[in-house]
């Protein structure tokens, strides 16, 4: 991993169109400004990692028969939705 030291106001440029600016540093918090094309998805790492972890847990390890109890549950009538 590349590690760079930056001061407030300084930037890091990634590729041709991603610019990261150190906006502020307070205590152990760093505020970053990110400019990137719209199609580049930007996530807080812990949120994205939580979704990855949940997806991995959600892959069905259990017997499908266990889910038979759900068969009595039917959709709400459209009126009740939303």
């Amino acid at each position: 991993m590349l590690a760079l030291t930056r001061k407030v106001g300084e930037q890091i440029i990634i590729g041709d169109n991603i610019v990261i600016t150190v906006v502020d540093v307070k205590g152990d918090g760093v505020r970053l400004g990110i400019e990137a094309p719209k199609e580049i998805k930007i996530y807080r790492g812990e949120i994205y990692q939580a979704v990855v972890a949940e997806n991995q847990q959600a892959t069905m390890p259990i017997d499908v028969e266990q889910l038979d109890v759900l068969k009595d549950i039917v959709k709400l009538p459209p009126k009740a939705q939303r």
């Binding site: 719209k38 199609e39 998805k41 996530y43 949120i47 994205y48 939580a50 979704v51 990855v52 972890a53 949940e54 997806n55 991995q56 847990q57 959600a58 892959t59 069905m60 259990i62 017997d63 499908v64 266990q66 889910l67 109890v69 759900l70 068969k71 009595d72 549950i73 039917v74 959709k75 709400l76 009538p77 009740a80 939705q81 939303r82």
Partner: protein, 152 residues
């Protein structure tokens, strides 16, 4: 399309229930084609079965039946990626996690699966600035006695 599933057996899935995830799903970047298989007649539950990995099956649920206050904004960028012209062509599913007991199953409300039902292009969107997490219990009071709030 004929799909092999370790849990569900061989499935002959009509083309209109084949859904493409051009970006895969978080943690499953290479899985781009799935079948949406209803769990039962008129059930809000479905299996999301990978077309090419028989072992990869998710359980998904229509969230609004269980979380009547659930709401979020689909960003312009997400709408563009999914070619959404009209929000009525969008369907929303939440991936469910079952650990030990089925009645303790949870739904991932922070990362809904959004499907453009017209094009069958889908994406699992990670929402920002929402009060939701990856785990919301579907049956916080346990299973309803007379399961299901709807009519048969």
């Amino acid at each position: 399309m004929v799909i092999q599933s370790t849990r569900l057996g061989q499935l002959d899935v009509p083309d209109d229930l084949i859904i493409k995830f051009p970006a895969g799903l978080p943690g499953f970047k290479d899985e781009t084609v799935f079948a949406l298989v209803p769990h039962g007649n008129n059930s809000p539950f479905y299996f999301l079965q990978s077309a090419y990995d028989p072992d990869l099956t998710f359980l998904v649920v229509e969230p609004f039946d269980f979380f009547s206050d659930y709401e979020f904004e689909l960003s312009d960028e997400n709408q563009r990626e999914l070619d959404v012209v009209d929000l009525s062509q969008v369907k929303v599913y939440s991936i469910a996690t079952v650990k030990d007991k089925v009645e303790e199953m949870t739904a991932n409300l922070i990362a809904p699966v959004i499907v453009n039902w017209k094009t069958k292009i889908a994406r699992q969107v990670v929402l920002e600035h929402v009060p939701y997490t990856t785990r919301h219990r579907l049956f916080p009071q346990g299973f309803p006695k007379n399961a299901g709030g709807g009519e048969k």
